[in-house]
């Protein structure tokens, strides 16, 4: 432990769109982060196309939601989610 202001590497939830089927489990486990679009696919609440489009496929996970994110990864019926870091 140090007092350095260096932030921890951000945890990211990566969506593999080629696998995602829009089942919606992740949006139930992580309602703070994910909404559903009109076709049922997860839509990041942060990050807009105008801001950073990349944040819509790699969504930053606040520390408090890491457990829920891990659940979403484990329970996704399409195995479309991964935890990565930046």
């Amino acid at each position: 432990m140090t007092n350095s202001p260096q932030p921890e590497p951000a945890a990211l939830l990566h969506i593999d769109w080629t696998r995602c089927d829009g089942r919606g489990l992740c949006t139930e486990l992580l309602p703070e982060l994910l909404a559903r679009d009109e076709w049922g696919y997860p839509l990041a609440r942060t990050g807009s196309a105008a801001g950073s489009a990349a944040e819509r496929s790699d969504i930053a996970i606040p520390p408090a939601l890491r457990g829920a994110a891990a659940d979403a990864v484990a329970l996704c019926p399409r195995q479309a989610l991964k935890l990565t870091s930046r």
Partner: protein, 433 residues
């Protein structure tokens, strides 16, 4: 298709014939990169040349090469070692091998897929100047020390490429893979997929191909025009390359001009040439076209009264366009921009690889709204709905097809803004009532 040149910019087609003899007579021998410091020297020369990729994305060529080289010499699991015999012979490698116990052999792929239906530059280059492309491919192989080298080409150029390979012993190991004619088949991860699994559709990736591509090996995918330009820089240097073009758009680039022109053709132009000059070289049917689509179907429209704009990133950015793969499509003054844009959006929707939900659903939705706008449906919500859908699909796919389609649709709303208003009242600026 004929190949024309603007004064002083003929570089890539100088041989005048696809034979190796003609190529060698004009350009001379392939420079050697076997000396231990030669790969780094060539990467540095490429950095100073400012050469950027000519396949569409415009990524600096030296950075890709440096990245693949760096990733090829990091510690990796032994499954990445397909064949180490070539590496074992390289003295230069003995040094870097000290960093890790094994090597991941890089893969080099020349991409000549020309996925854009309006682009013919890669096919023409492969048919008329295949040896420059092969030179560039062999140089990349030497720089990153790859053993696996391939060309990914459309069916129309395959015969010429195979003939060229058979002409030179140094290229006999180059494999040729035929690319399908789909719009997304030339996307870099689709190319890697084609080599690994035989299907040319984009795939999910969390790291760049230069780190993990074909069979998890560092993979260099370069457009074939990029390779030909690289072969010239290796011979004549960065200064020579930059002696044509502008500081930010150095060298020449190939552009395919089509649409309402008397002479649709491929041109080799200096970087930063004005659109006006390029269009005028092709006998346009109008003094002032309605608009010019720059950068292909993922590009943007430049209105006809703005053709003084240069073919450069900076000049085209306000239009949501970029030089891209050099596609220039001229829309004559008698054509409705919204009707043309609607037809292109239909095509783009049809070219979804149908893997990612937002693309499968969002692209047809955008095409349908744009179609209603083109058909002069009097619904004032249409432009807002189009902008909303464009925002919704952006950044939500495994490749840039949704993003590029959204960019094109938004550019259509901007370039034909006054006609959008006319259409919403049932009129059309071009076709009248």
């Amino acid at each position: 298709m004929t190949v024309a040149e603007l004064t002083g910019t003929a570089r890539l087609f100088r041989a005048g014939s696809p034979t190796f003899a003609a190529h060698h007579a004009v350009y001379g021998s392939l420079p050697s990169v076997t000396a231990p410091d030669a790969p780094d020297a060539l990467i540095d020369e490429l950095r100073r040349s400012g050469l950027e990729g000519r396949g569409g994305a415009g990524f600096p060529v030296w950075r890709k090469l440096a990245s693949v080289l760096a990733n090829s010499s990091v510690l990796a699991d032994s499954s990445g070692l397909a064949n180490s015999s070539v590496l074992a012979n390289s003295s230069a490698l003995a040094n870097s091998a000290g960093r890790g116990s094994s090597q991941r052999q890089p893969v080099v792929i020349g991409n000549g897929a020309d996925g854009e239906p309006l682009s013919h530059k890669d096919e023409t280059l492969l048919r008329q100047a295949p040896h420059l492309v092969l030179d560039g491919l062999l140089l990349c192989q030497a720089v990153v020390r790859a053993s696996d080298v391939s060309l990914y080409v459309g069916a129309a150029s395959a015969a010429a490429v195979r003939l060229a390979i058979a002409e030179r012993p140094d290229a006999l190991h180059v494999r040729v893979l035929i690319a399908p004619e789909d719009f997304v088949s030339g996307e870099a991860t689709a190319v890697a997929n084609a080599f690994e699994h035989g299907v040319s559709v984009p795939r999910d990736h969390i790291v760049h191909l230069s780190q993990s591509g074909v069979k998890k090996r560092p993979t260099l995918v370069q457009n074939v025009e990029t390779l030909a330009q690289l072969a010239l820089i290796a011979r004549f240097g960065a200064e020579w390359f930059r002696s044509v073009g502008t500081a930010s758009e150095p060298g020449t680039r190939l552009v395919t001009v089509s649409g309402d022109v008397g002479t649709p053709q491929l041109l080799e132009v200096a970087g930063g040439t004005s659109l006006r000059r390029i269009v005028d070289a092709c006998a346009p049917l109008d003094e002032m076209p309605r608009a010019v689509l720059v950068g292909g179907y993922h590009g943007g429209w430049v209105p006809g009264d703005r053709l003084d704009s240069a073919l450069s990133r900076e000049a085209l950015a306000p239009f949501g366009a970029a030089p891209g793969a050099g596609v220039i499509f001229v829309l004559g003054s008698g054509r409705c921009g919204l009707e043309s844009a609607g037809a292109i959006a239909d095509y783009l929707a049809s070219q979804s690889a149908r893997q990612c939900g937002p693309c499968i659903n969002g692209l047809p939705a955008m095409a349908s709204v744009l179609g209603s706008l083109a058909a002069r449906s009097r619904d004032p919500r249409l432009p807002g709905e189009l902008a909303r859908l464009a925002d919704l699909v952006t950044g939500r796919g495994s490749c840039s097809h949704p993003d590029g389609t959204a960019r094109f649709v938004l550019s259509s709303l901007r370039a034909f803004e006054t006609d959008v208003r006319a259409h919403l009242t049932g009129r059309c600026e071009v076709h009248g009532a």
